[in-house]
Amino acid sequence: MRITVTVDGTKYADDVEPRQLLVHYLRERLGKVGTVVGCDTSNCGACTVHLDGHSVKSCSVLAVQADGSEVTTIEGLARDGQLHPVQQAFHDNHALQCGFCTPGMIMQSIDLLADNPDPDEKAVREGLEGNLCRCTGYQNIVRAVRDAASHMQGGAGPEAEQVTSVKAGGAQ
């Protein structure tokens, strides 16, 4: 099937197998290997990307379902060498060790902050429940998300989304 999809600001038109998962399309066809696969039951969240501004587990979305949509991956967050506030907060708060869960964790955190610009600890923990990390015990991830929130205040959450999508389409 023919799909047209915008990923990290670049438009692609490709023929894909109907069964191909979005994450495999991103990794194998587009070379977007910053997004990774950690499980086969949609439990780990390592493959989380944004589809039209909302976080999805890209192992649970078919590439054909992304037809006509905008996808943002971890690779599309930083602009002109400027890290997204959530990326910066993960670095500042030592919220990663091996870093394998980090792309998904950051993408989910951005989505979480878009919904709730000032989450308390419990809200962060529950908002990240679908993303597993084996290294950090989550404490510094929680700290990072709340730190990022403090740097993105005043309704900055949705803005953070817009930073990541070139033409903030109305698909929210």
């Binding site: 780990c44 091996c98 993303n131 404490q139």
Partner: protein, 817 residues
């Protein structure tokens, strides 16, 4: 060129590694691609024990995109036997360990055929077209039954399911008394049997391997903790000349011991790539990872502790059965033996005996998992100390305090013959109790018991130590390990004064690049930013023993320090020449050589920086006679002793007696890991370690059903905790420098995992002991806790047949509620 004046060591430096990891610029093995790369998939046995009577691959070979299909028979002549580097006894029974089964499968998940195809999708599709016929063999699953006379055998050719029995006896070793005498004279005996359930390391990055056979060397990229050992073992196992093999561990997404292995998948990818002459990739699915990657723990611990009525311990006898699974992997037999020296822990036992029998079953092989032997030992002794306190109606901390080594007694040689170089258990405990609010929580516990609150409070203690920094080579030799425990490092001074540090330690999330930069910055007086750390490629870092056993800092970084000393010694001679002074008159401080007594920077003293020397060496126009133009240096460091971090962990749990649900209300730990290079990294290691130890206590268990099928083969069934399942930890430190290395450092990678499990279980039992509960098997799932409370049975949970029991989910038997 200004030298860094403020010490780097001790600073909470943000990590150098992060930049690529937070932006997706990563090189996981599965991210790599090569021209002409083809993909391999593996057909795995659904049977735990069976003869293979036929395999028909003809249909699979005909499918579009399929290049080749191989069975065990096709590869039998080349595959050798997977290595086991730790023959713990001379008479240890070790079965042949094929990477792909030839005529018999011995655990569910063993490879029986491989497909090579143009794409991973096509390779996976073709597996369904392979037809395998099996003849069932009796399945051996229960360790205790497996060692009975007449038991069905995993490997009939071995004639027994016992691999080896390893004994340490303090009376025989001359390091202590006779434990049987102590038991005979005991005023109090505590006899318990604990089960260490089977766990799965569950690193986040599934294992992946790429082999390129098209160059002069075979190049293997692998998600491994041990590129150097892997290269050696490929050479020795497959009879490939060692110099024709290059192994690269690129970015590796966690290991926790789970990637301390020479895997069937690595061997198969190598063999098949070589056969086809094409670059080949194999990446496991999560389910394959759970099934085929080695598991951890799995012991039955029979324990006898003798004591006097005043609480003084007099002897400890440990009888273990340890499940090897179906084969002996790289260090499988040695894992329980690493625990042999830790059951006595921080306590002054006068007599000790340890007997471990390693047992084969038709399950996934076990091997190292974070702590490897030491969590098991720590759990046993810390649970026993609580049981002793209950028996004597003493406070559990008071019992510990009565028996632990006092700070003024260091160095202290234990009943196992290990010498603990330093420690201060009193200081760590005092600090932990204060942070915890121990006395107030005890008062609240009493109050809630008094009024019969449906949610009961329990306090759990773990005053642990561990031995890490593996390891003095002579000790490993005495334990029959197949290699030494040294580590290698090299430092290259580049002409512009920048520095490359080569380390044989191979990180997979720990932050070596940052920590080593801090250490070298201080050693050479160069800026943190000017240092690049190279690792994980046998071509650039040709020599090493890799990363496990909390060894990187205490062994690997000590090699870096030794190399830096050599660089400075070489530079001093050249600097003296440049300063027109005698070498003995030159001193090195903060990156500069100066003539002694001529003052420091800014006072007009003439000096040359180490960067000046590096450039002078590059030009080599004017060097002292007989001096080679080279500052580069290498060093290999062999530790003289293990390191012995310790700490006091305190856990308060709330147990809902109506649902059995356990909630951690407060967790405080005060760890003493000696000097700290980077407090941020240390704190992260502790957090992650705690999470894994708590997961053993409450959530995780690898369960096989009666036919030997792993029923916890996905992350939906095997309950790796999420952020919502864990509390906020209060972590702090005391600092008693190690005296066994120049940096004064101890290990930290495994401490949290080793310490936390018994603290949590002690707390759970403490919450409900007044209801008649004496023990609850791990993981303490809501069902088991509820059952223990409502039956008052001391053996609640049985041997653990249910899957997915943690986190309040419904177990396969339908839930006990």
């Amino acid at each position: 060129m200004t030298a860094t004046m403020e010490p780097e060591v001790g600073k909470a430096r943000r990590r150098k590694e992060d930049a690529r990891l937070i932006t997706g610029r990563t090189r996981w093995t599965d991210n790599l691609t090569l021209p002409g790369l083809v993909h391999m998939s593996i057909l795995r046995s659904p049977m735990a024990h069976a003869r293979i009577t036929s395999i028909d691959v003809s249909a699979a070979r005909e499918l579009p995109g399929v290049l080749a299909v191989f069975t065990g028979a096709d590869l039998a002549d080349e595959q050798g036997s997977l290595p086991c580097a730790w023959p713990i006894t001379e008479d240890m029974k070790s079965p042949n360990a094929p990477s792909i089964a030839v005529d018999q499968v011995n655990f569910a998940g063993e490879a029986v055929a491989v497909v090579v195809a143009r794409s991973a999708y096509e390779a996976a599709d073709a597996l369904e077209a392979i037809d395998v016929d099996y003849d069932d063999l009796p399945v051996v699953l229960d360790m205790a039954a497996a060692v009975e006379d007449g038991a069905d055998l995993v490997h009939s050719d071995l004639g027994t399911n016992k691999s080896a029995t390893w004994i340490f006896d303090s009376n025989e070793a001359g390091t202590g008394g006779d434990v049987e005498a102590a038991i005979g004279d005991a005023e109090v005996l505590i006899e318990r049997t604990f089960r260490q359930q089977r766990l799965i390391p569950a690193f986040m990055e599934p294992r992946s391997v790429v082999v390129d056979p098209t160059g002069e060397q075979y190049t293997m990229w692998s998600a491994t903790q041990i590129p150097h050992i892997l290269r050696l073992m490929l050479a020795m196992t497959l009879s490939v000349p060692e110099h024709k093999v290059r192994v690269i561990a690129p970015d590796v997404g966690g290991g926790f011991g789970g990637k301390l292995q020479v895997t069937p998948e690595e061997i198969l990818t190598f063999l098949v790539a070589r056969r086809l002459g094409k670059p080949l990739k194999y990446t496991e699915s999560r389910s394959e990872s759970m099934l085929s990657g080695h598991h951890g723990r799995d012991q039955i611990q029979k324990l006898t502790l003798s004591a006097r009525r005043d609480g003084t311990v007099t002897g400890l006898k440990v009888e273990l059965l340890a499940d090897m699974g179906a084969y002996l992997r790289l260090v499988t037999p040695g894992v329980p033996i690493l625990g042999a020296f830790m059951f006595n822990a921080i306590y002054k036992f006068p007599a000790y005996r340890f007997v471990c029998t390693n047992v084969f079953t038709n399950k996934t092989p076990t091997d190292a998992y974070r702590g490897a032997g030491r969590p098991e030992a720590t759990f046993a002794i810390e649970r026993l100390m609580d049981e002793l306190a209950v028996e004597l109606d003493m406070d559990p901390m008071a019992v510990r305090e009565k028996n632990w080594i006092k700070h003024e007694e260091f160095p202290f040689t234990t009943v196992c013959g290990l010498t603990y170089d330093s420690g201060n258990y009193e200081a760590a405990t005092d600090k932990a109790k204060e942070l915890f609010g121990y006395d107030a929580l005890r008062a609240e516990q009493a109050e809630r018991r008094e009024r019969g609150d449906s949610v009961q409070l329990g306090l759990g203690i773990s005053t642990f130590t561990e031995m890490c920094g593996l390891a003095p080579s002579r000790v490993l030799g005495s334990l029959s390990y197949g290699a030494g425990g040294w580590e290698h490092a090299a430092i290259r001074m580049l002409p512009t004064g920048k520095v490359e540090v080569v380390t044989g330690s191979s990180p997979h999330g720990q932050g070596h690049e940052t920590a080593w930069s801090q250490i070298v910055a201080d050693q050479l007086g160069v800026p943190f930013e000017d240092i690049e750390v190279l690792h994980g490629d046998t071509q650039s870092s040709h020599k090493g023993l890799d990363t496990y056993g909390s060894r990187s800092l205490t062994v690997g970084a000590m090699a870096v320090v030794a190399a830096a000393d050599k660089v400075k010694a070489k530079a001093a001679r050249i600097a003296a020449h440049m300063l027109e002074a005698g070498e003995d008159d030159v001193e090195f401080h903060a990156g500069s050589f100066r003539v002694r007594g001529t003052g420091t920077e800014g006072s007009g003293a003439k000096g040359v920086s180490i960067q000046d020397v590096a450039l002078a060496v590059f030009a080599a126009h004017d060097l002292p006679d007989g001096v080679e133009p080279n500052l580069d240096s290498e060093a290999t460091f062999d530790p003289e002793n293990f390191s012995f971090p310790h700490g006091t962990h305190l856990c308060a749990t709330e147990v809902d007696t109506e649902t059995g649900r356990v909630t951690i209300r407060k967790y405080v730990c005060v760890d003493d890991i000696g000097k700290v290079v980077n407090p941020l990294i240390v704190e992260g290691q502790v957090h992650g370690g705690l999470a894994q130890g708590i997961a053993q206590a409450l959530f995780e268990e690898a369960v096989h059903d009666e036919s030997g099928t792993l029923t916890t083969g996905t992350l939906a069934d095997y309950l790796v905790p999420s952020a919502a399942d864990l509390p906020n930890f209060v972590t702090d430190r005391t600092e008693t420098p190690a005296t066994s290395n120049a940096l004064g450092v101890k290990g930290v990678g495994e401490a949290g995992t080793i310490a936390s499990t018994p603290a949590v279980v002690n707390a759970v039992i403490d919450a409900v002991r007044h209801l008649g509960v004496k023990d609850i098997e791990m993981p303490c799932t809501p069902m088991r806790v509820w059952q223990a409370i409502h039956t008052g049975r001391s053996d609640a949970g049985g041997l653990g047949g249910e899957a997915g029991g943690g986190l309040g989910s419904i177990d396969t038997s339908g839930g006990a509620q």
